[in-house]
Amino acid sequence: MSKPSQNSSPENSSPKNTSTVIATARLIATKDLRVELRSRVLLNQVVPFSLIVMVMFAFALDSDAVLERVAPGLVWLATLFSVLIMVSRSFAVETADGALDQLRSSGVPAMGIFIGKTVALMVQLLVLVTLLVGAAVVLYRAQVSWSGGVLLVTTAIAATCGLAAVGTLYGGLAAGAKGRETLLPLLLLPVVAPVLIGATRATESAFGTNGIAISEGWPWLGLLAVFAVLFSVAGAVAFGPLLDD
């Protein structure tokens, strides 16, 4: 992010080309996912980490009744902690060889980069959340009915979209800066509080914890959707200025 462009990037002076943005997004998304498939960092490191976190919760809380009651919260807490590592990694991949700088100075639309990275992150998060819900069913005796399952899936999609957008945005902000590993958690966690609240409450309804009806979960899904839309738009707009120098 320290390399100045010699001239103003072409897409700033001409009208935004939607197909370029989409093409870029697709390219970046497949690149990121391919990197993940080959390096298997998510599979080999992040998933085990989050599963260990789930186990640690059981040690700390030490009561089946309590665990069953707080299972939704624990799933999303473990997810949040994992997001921090995943975002760090998503940008470490770029900044290691100055790839991000070169991407930018080659005139690639920043919005496309943002969308691509967000989509890739979201896919990985969905995989993670699925595994964690499975872990909750096994470890904490959570139960999911079919209608609960629908709510759960839509919750996961909305929540992971919001998390991915915010993560990519703030990751871009901190990318290449010294001390970003400790800075990112400080920046991200307050922002994603609404996701934690909404996703947990919706998941509670999906699991039927404490006899909460499934119908009560849908308003929380609304909150998650609003969050996801707001930060996707904000991220798409702000990512360019953030990367420019």
């Binding site: 320290s2 945005l169 902000l173 400080l186 920046l187 307050p190 509080a193 609404p194 702000a238 953030l242």
Partner: protein
């Protein structure tokens, strides 16, 4: 709180002042007088409240602190936008944003601590998870993150852009957090204790003291931001001149070698 005259001569020329000006001098005097008046009224002269008793005295420091913290963050947001908008881009806006955020964090910290002490007296606990308190805590942490980002290094422009974007994201995020927490809170089975004991029947003198508090704190805010903004300008100038000096030295070296 007086300005930074480094000489003690009675007719010190303006050259000797650092970040002070005649205006801030006068402001400082007014603030000192106001502070003294506020302490006298707040601690001694104004009557205790019917419901809260003596603990209402804390409100004269707590409420203005909270208001000014919000004002400070609004100023940070506006200055950040002013920096990002090409027509008004100037590092001065960036420095105002930074100074205002620092003072905002200071006042918000004061507000949280005094509020906590007040809560200890009135509710018996230092903290409760009601929407406003929780959101305030989030705002506090968010702006600490903002200040941390300002310290990330790089050029002044990089710092300015990063923190400006962050400030505007915070403006987006805080209402979301507030809304989520409020929604969350209304579903909490425990009765909210924030309702109890917050009603204050303000008699004339109490109202005046509160108003005085807001005025004094606002003046303090202005004084602090003016000085801090200038201090940041000096720091930036130092950075720049340091860079200039280094470049000059390198060139001189190169010339010496070439000879």
């Amino acid at each position: 709180m007086n300005t930074t005259d480094t000489t003690t001569a009675p007719n010190s020329s303006p050259r000797d002042r650092v970040t002070g000006t005649t205006f801030t001098r006068g402001l400082g005097v007014v603030i000192l007088a106001g502070m003294i008046l506020l302490v006298i009224l707040g601690l001694f002269v104004s009557p205790p409240d019917v419901n809260q008793g003596e603990s209402v005295r804390i409100m004269y420091a707590h409420v203005p602190g909270a208001w000014l913290a919000y004002l400070a963050f609004v100023v940070t947001g506006i200055s950040s936008a002013a920096y990002l908008w090409k027509r008004t881009r100037s590092l001065t806006w960036d420095r105002i944003a930074g100074a205002s955020a620092e003072v905002g964090v200071l006042f918000m910290g004061i507000s949280l601590v005094t509020g906590s002490l007040w809560g200890r007296i009135t509710w018996g606990t230092y903290w409760t998870w009601d929407a406003r308190l929780t959101t305030t805590a989030f705002l506090f942490v968010t702006y600490i993150g903002y200040l941390a980002v300002r310290g990330l290094g790089g050029t002044h422009q990089q710092r300015a852009r990063r923190s400006a974007v962050l400030a505007l994201l915070a403006v987006l995020e805080i209402p979301l957090v507030h809304f989520s927490v409020e929604l969350w809170n209304t579903l909490h089975q425990e009765a909210s204790i924030a309702g109890r004991g917050t009603d204050v029947e303000m008699d004339g003198l109490m109202l005046f003291t509160l108003f005085l508090g807001v005025v004094v704190f606002t003046l303090m805010y202005v004084w602090l931001v003016l000085h801090r903004q200038r201090s940041l300008a000096l720091d930036d100038m130092l950075d720049d001149s340091g860079l200039d000096n280094a470049l000059t030295a390198r060139r001189a070296e190169a010339q010496g070698v070439a000879r």
